[in-house]
């Protein structure tokens, strides 16, 4: 028996560049913290190690040494985001080389490709498909008692050379989520560095804010064409028909814990209903309890003024922003791709209202949307420029090429969305990130062409947008301060 029962490893994504290795996508899914805490409370010792952070601190870091020293019974590797496809498997392989520990993967990407992963990679013993709380407890219990795992809910496992699925299913309810604590970041080694870097990849740059992701609920009520976390994906992977929320009391508890950890800004990215009834309750609680923290609130649809005023009086204004992703400057393209639709005029009116209410906004656009031509993208360029020149309270604006997300509507229904898929299986994602980690150019980065644009055009359009925005901001800085 080793020092910990369950070791959670977060893979990170390595990209080799001319300047050496860069670690990308630093964030750890909040579910990992909840799982580690849940296991601890059920009597199992756990540890979370962020392999990417370790390598940032020490380029010679070897995770093997830690695994050998801890001798865990089970190693959990999150494969929620597709960008970790290669590094998650590489880690699993590393575990197998140095211990007899069992390896379990979880998260949306692992869930969606569970069968293929287990058929192709011997280093992975199990995949938990969908919600993992009860399955994780039952899995470690079975392993510690050396009993059969076939009864563990949501488990996909190997029996001989066959890949099998457990017959038992588990779908977390709001009540189940309320039993979780998602704010014990101290379970992660180097957590204090993590909260500084969660959105940045540079250890050395001094940040004003520290950030923690808040777990508010699961699911979505709509289907954006490009989103791997859309309603369709939740139905298919989890069996969840509609979004569920934790209780405002539990979320407020996590906010309090964040404040006590010195986290200055809560990243709040769960907004599946336009009425936002949940948030009015939560905000009232936060105010009542005097929790002093900022919020980067990502809205999925436009809000009314009431909501903005309520947000403003609840959170510390230092880092509080409202973040929205209009994705495009073309109403036609937005209608075709976004689950929550609004036109440009409504967006501009909303920004105007934000300016009046003195709330800063962050905006994100994308290239590679369905139905987008170069001409339509020019509308994105124009809208971005106009917004930047009109609203000083827009504090961030950028454009990124869309990557193909597993289980997104366009992945599942490429014809409907005018997409030509280049990635169809897990191995396509795996190989792409392997190429990037090794410093070679993958045949495809985004995983698709659209009916009007090829990959390089899609990438080029985003760069053009960011160049224009960059030069406006640079000019602004110079003129602002020359007096």
């Amino acid at each position: 028996m080793g020092d910990v029962d369950v070791l959670f490893l977060h893979p990170s994504t390595y990209v080799s560049t001319s300047d050496g290795e860069v670690v990308r996508y630093v964030a750890v899914p909040m579910g990992t913290f909840a799982l580690a805490d849940l296991l601890e409370r059920n009597g199992y010792s756990t540890r979370i190690v962020h392999v990417g952070l370790k390598r940032m601190l020490d380029p010679n870091y070897k995770v093997e040494n830690l695994i050998k020293a801890l001798e865990p019974t089970l190693v959990g590797i999150d494969l929620h985001w597709y960008c970790h496809s290669y590094d998650a498997i590489k880690l699993a392989d590393c575990v197998k080389r140095c211990t007899n520990a069992k390896v379990v993967l979880g998260g949306m990407t692992a869930s969606f490709f569970a069968d293929e992963i287990l058929s192709s990679f011997d280093c992975v013993d199990y995949v938990i498909v969908g919600d993992a709380e009860l399955p994780m407890i039952e899995l470690i219990k079975a392993l510690m008692k050396s009993t059969e795992v076939s009864d563990v809910p949501n488990l996909v496992y190997r029996k001989g050379s066959a890949v099998k699925r457990s017959r038992r299913a588990y779908l977390a309810s709001s009540e189940d989520l309320d039993k979780l604590t998602c704010s014990d970041l101290k379970l992660l080694e180097d957590w204090d560095l993590y909260v500084r870097l969660i959105h940045e990849n540079d250890v050395l740059s001094p940040k004003l804010k520290t950030q923690g992701w808040l777990m508010i609920g699961r699911g979505c009520s709509v289907n954006c064409s490009y989103c791997g976390g859309a309603n369709l994906a939740h139905r298919k992977i989890f069996g969840r028909q509609q979004p569920i929320f934790r209780s405002p009391e539990k979320v407020a508890e996590d906010l309090r814990a964040f404040e006590e950890l010195g986290i200055s800004c809560a990243y709040m990215d769960f907004d599946p209903y336009t009425n936002r009834k949940f948030y009015y309750k939560l905000f009232e609680l936060v105010r009542k309890e005097g929790i002093d923290i900022s919020s980067q609130f990502l809205i999925w649809s436009l809000t009314d003024r009431n909501f903005v005023q309520d947000l403003k009086k609840t959170f510390n204004p230092l880092y509080t922003t409202l973040t929205i992703s209009p994705e495009t400057g073309s109403d036609f393209v937005r209608l075709k791709n976004k689950g929550f639709y609004y036109d440009n005029q409504s967006l501009l009116r909303w920004l105007e209202m934000l300016e009046e209410e003195m709330v800063p906004a962050e905006l994100y656009f994308a290239s590679g949307l369905s139905g987008e031509t170069v001409e339509e993208f020019n509308k994105t360029m124009k809208l971005g420029e106009r917004i930047l020149r009109t609203y000083n309270n827009v504090v961030a604006i950028s454009c990124n090429p869309l990557f193909l997300e597993p289980c997104s509507p366009r992945f599942l229904l490429p014809k409907k969305y005018g997409i030509r898929l280049k990635f169809r299986s897990f191995s396509d994602f795996y190989k792409t990130y392997k190429y990037l980690a090794e410093g070679t150019v993958p045949p495809s980065r985004l995983g698709y062409d659209t009916e009007y644009l090829n990959e390089s055009q899609i990438i080029e359009l985003s760069s053009k947008f960011n160049e224009v925005v960059g030069s406006i901001l640079e000019g602004e800085n110079l003129t602002q301060h020359c007096a």
Partner: protein, 338 residues
């Protein structure tokens, strides 16, 4: 007791004291990272260091924020240096922590091969000091904090720091014009700045942070720039700024300049002469009187003049003579590291 320094600016700071950030990258501030840096010895170094001193209680696994200071690297006339703005304290007993804080800053500055460390400390003498309260890009509402000027000065002296400069700010309520002979003319702020940098015919001038790098000194639109002339000859020049702290407090924002529409209509009460130069003291006084009188007519109730160096005894005497009262003074203490 164990301490550590973390690069972050706690939200608690903003709950404790209203502040205005007016440096480079105004838009970036809220996102939590100001992407500004400079080349130093062939390497890229980051510009801003928001430093929080934390006291650790290992037995209870707790930490407590003790002190915060917004710091930056700048190119001064004395080489590249580390500038430490007024430390804001969260606890009463700060001596032990402050020494640790400064020692660590010195170690950092030495490692980065910087020439020295400068520390700005304020001593408040009046009820209120208007924006900018600092000679840098971060200004605090000094009436809501305790600056601990004398405690810090004493401690820094014992650590080898010497006074580099002491600068006064004076304030006055409405002032009579009594028919001054100078003529005021609106000009661009750039023309005053240019005159400030290149013109050395003016014997009297305000003290500013000795750097030409942009985005480190206080800034704030709207701003007023004036030339004062006699017989067609420019004899004095001024840049004035309304009190952004009033706005910051009312609307709870650290960056009023992101809201120009509301800012443009805001009825400010206080105004500050932040940059000035004059051929002689008579001209300075005559122009100031005229200036304050005309701004009073526009609704300003109080005017301050900053940047009065302690050594300018005649200016200080003259200001007192017409009714200006000291609002605060700022001491900058320095230590050379090479």
């Amino acid at each position: 007791m164990e301490f550590k320094i973390e690069a972050r600016m706690p939200p608690r700071l903003f709950s404790k004291v209203s502040l205005v950030y007016s440096g480079i990258g105004l838009r970036y501030f809220h996102t939590g990272f100001i992407p500004s840096g400079l080349m130093h010895l062939g390497k890229w170094v980051w510009r801003f260091y928001p430093l929080t001193l934390v006291r650790l209680d290992k037995t209870q696994e707790q930490h407590e924020e003790v002190l915060f200071s917004f710091c930056f690297i700048y190119q001064s006339i004395n080489g590249k240096r580390f500038f430490v703005t007024q430390p804001i304290t969260f606890v009463d007993d700060i001596r032990e922590g402050f020494e640790f804080f400064i020692e660590n800053i010195e170690d950092f500055a030495k490692e980065a091969c910087l020439n020295g460390v400068d520390i700005e400390l304020h001593q408040v003498l009046d009820e209120y000091v208007s924006y900018p309260t600092s000679y840098t890009c971060i200004s605090y509402d000094l009436s809501s904090i305790s600056c601990n000027h004398d405690v810090f000065v004493e401690q820094l002296r014992s650590m080898g720091y010497k006074e580099y400069v002491k600068v006064w700010t004076y304030g006055i309520a409405p002032l009579d014009d009594d028919e001054q002979t100078v003529c005021l003319q609106d000009v661009s702020p750039e023309s005053v700045s240019r005159m400030f940098i290149y013109e050395n015919l003016f014997s009297y001038r305000s003290w500013t942070l000795p750097t030409l790098e942009h985005g480190l000194k206080p800034f704030g639109t709207p701003q007023i720039a004036k030339f004062a002339s006699r017989d067609g000859l420019t004899e004095a020049a001024f840049i004035l700024r309304p009190d952004l702290l009033e706005f910051a407090k009312k609307y709870r924002t650290p960056i009023p300049q992101l809201y120009q529409k509301t800012l443009g209509k805001y009825p400010f009460s206080n105004l500050k002469v932040v940059m000035w130069l004059a051929k002689d003291i008579d001209t300075l006084l005559a122009s100031l009187k005229k200036l304050i009188h005309s701004e009073t007519l526009k609704g300003f109730k109080r005017t301050e003049i900053a940047g009065v160096e302690d050594r300018l005894e005649e200016v200080k005497r003259a200001l007192s003579g017409v009714g200006f009262r000291p609002a605060c003074y700022t001491t900058i203490l320095s230590k050379e590291l090479v």
